[in-house]
Amino acid sequence: MDILIPLMVIIPIASALFLNLLHKNDSTIKIIAIITALILPVIALITPYGSHYFGGYAPLAQNSTIAQGLPALITGTQLFQFHPAITYVFGSAQQLMIFILVLISFFAIYTSINETKKPSGVYAFLMFMGTASVSAILLSDDIFNLFVFFEIAAMAQVGIIVASGIKDNYETALKYILLGNIAGPLLLLGIALLLGITGNVNITDIIFSIKNGLVDPYSPAILMALGLLTFGWLYASGLPPFHTIKSAVYSKALPHGAALLQAFSVFSMVAIGVIILRMFAYIPFTSTAIIGISLLAMVLGITMAIVQTDFKRIIGFLAVGELGYIGIGLGLGTAFGITAGLFQAVNEAIITAFLFIGFGTVLYKTRTSDTRKLGGMMFVNPKLALLVLLSGLAMAGIPPLNAFQSKLMLIQASIQSGLPELGIIMILLSIVTFMTFMKAFYTIYMRPKPAELEILENKIPKSTIISLVIFLIICIILGLFPQIATNSLQTLATGLV
C-alpha cells in the first residue's frame, strides 16, 4: 500500500480539472501548469516500488490480518490468491517509462506555454489528462481499468488535435474518433471474453487461471480474446492498418502536441504489448503475429515517409515505422529481446519528441510545413539547425546517441534468436530512415531559399531551445550509459519470459 503510487494519476487529473476552470487567467495557468508538470517527474523518481490496491485490499495470501480465522471454504480455494481490488503495480520499468513520459509532457507543456500567444487552460487540461491516462495504462494491472483509460487517452488525443487550429484538423479528429469507436468496443469485447472465461479482470489472476489449468488455455474464446486485444493494441499504438490515421493525427497537431501524442502511442503500445505477452506468450502464434505486424509497420511506415512532402507527415510516418522496432523486440520473446524493445521504446519517445519540437521551430518561423516551399533555413539559425540534425542522427542510430545502443541490442537479440533476417531488415530500414531524414533536412535547411518564402521576424522562445538541449543531453547520457535504462527494464523483461 503505497500512497504515492496513485498520485501519479491523481495529480495530473486534478490539475487538469482545475486548469479547465481557470479560463482566462493566463499567468495563473502558466504557473500551475509548470509546477504540476515539474512535480510529476519528482514523484516518479521518489516513489518506492510496490503495489497499490484501489477500493479493496491485498490478496488474502499476502494479507495475514484479514486472512486470519477465515473458513476453509475460502482458504482452500483459488480465491485465496485473487486480487479483490484495482491493482496498480509500480516497478523499476514502470518508473523509468513514467519518468520519461512525464518529462516529455513537461517539455511539451513548457514549450506550448511559451510558443502560443495566449496559454490556454483547456489545452493544458487535455495534455495533463492524456498524461494521466497513459500513466494509468502503464501502471494498471486491471484490464478493465486499462480500457477506461484507453478511452480517456483517445479522447484527450482527439482534443489535442481539435485544439491545434491547423487546417483540416476537425476532419482528422473525426476520423480518429470514429475508428476509435470501432476499436474500443471490440477491445472491450475481448476483455469481456476473458472475463467470461476466467471470471476476473485482474491480469495477474487471469494469468494464474490460465497457467494453473483452471481454464482451457487453447479454448476458442481465449484465442478470440487474444485477437480482439491485438486489434485494440493496433489502434492504441497506430500500427497498420491504423498507420495512416496515426501519422495524420501527428501532422494535424501542433509540434509540442505531436511530441506528446507520439509518446502516448509509444507507451500505450509498450503497456498493452507487455500485457498481451504476459497473458498469451504460451501461444506460439502470438510472437509470430507481433513480428509480422511490426515488420509491416516498419516497411509501410518508412516507405510511406519517403514519398511524403509535408515534413510533419514525414516525421509522423517515421514515428510509426520506428514503432516496428519496439514490436520486433517484444515479438522475439527472449529476455534480451524484450529489454531491447523496451529500451528502444524509451529512446524513441525521446527522439521523436526531440524531432517534432525541433522541426516545430521551422513551422513557428515560416507558418508552413510543405517541404516544397521551404529552404535556406540554415542561415536563419545555424545552431538550431545543428540541433535538428543531431535529432535525426539520433533517430537513425549514429553511435554516441541512444538509439544506436538499442538498435544494436535489437540486432544482437534477433541474431541470438536465430532470425538474422530481422537484423538485416532493421539495418536496411535504419539507413533508409536516415536517408529520409536527410532529404527533409536538405530541402528545409540546406538548399537555397525559395523567393516566395517569408520568414517571420518572431524570435524562437528560449524554452524551445532549452527543451531541445535537454533532450539532446538525455540522448547522449542514455547513449553513453545504456545500463541506466536497461537495468531498470530487465526485471520486467525477465519476468515475461
Binding site: E151, L174, K175, L178, L195, Q308, D370
Partner: protein
C-alpha cells in the same frame, strides 16, 4: 423453451455488433455511421450483461430474509454489470463529441457525407 434465452441473447448482441460494423462501413451518411457505432457499443454491452446472467437465478442484491449460501448459489455475477455501467457512460460521452465534430464540419462544408468531407485531401497544403 426450445432455445436457451441466454444463447438467443448472445445472438442478439452479435447481430447488433454486425449491424453496427455494417453501418459504419457501408453507409455514407455520417449520422448513420454514428448510429451504427452506437449499436455496436450497445451490442458489446448486451454481450457482457448476458455473460453475467444465470438461468433461473436471482438479482445480485442481498435482501434481509435471504441466507448467504442461497444467495451465493443463485445470484447472477455482478462484476460484468459494473463494467457495463461505466461503458454506457463512456459511450454516451464519445457520442456527444462525435456529433459535436459533425456539427462543426457541417458548418464548414455544408455536407454530412463521409465521402465528401472525409475524403482524401491529398498533398495540397497551404
Amino acid at each position: 423453451m426450445i432455445i436457451d434465452s441466454q444463447l438467443m441473447s448472445f445472438f442478439t448482441a452479435g447481430s447488433l455488433i454486425v449491424i453496427g460494423i455494417f453501418a459504419a462501413l457501408f453507409l455514407d451518411n455520417l449520422i448513420k455511421k454514428i448510429i451504427g457505432l452506437a449499436f455496436l457499443a450497445d451490442g458489446v454491452n448486451l454481450f457482457i450483461i448476458t455473460m453475467g446472467y444465470k438461468a433461473g437465478g436471482i438479482v445480485y442484491i442481498l435482501l434481509p430474509n435471504m441466507t448467504i449460501s442461497n444467495f451465493a448459489q443463485n445470484a447472477s455475477y455482478p462484476l460484468p454489470f459494473a463494467l457495463v455501467l461505466t461503458n454506457i457512460v463512456i459511450g454516451a460521452s464519445t457520442l456527444a463529441v462525435m456529433l459535436g465534430l459533425i456539427i462543426v464540419l457541417n458548418k464548414k462544408h455544408g455536407s454530412i457525407s463521409a465521402s465528401k468531407i472525409l475524403g482524401d485531401k491529398g498533398e495540397k497544403i497551404e
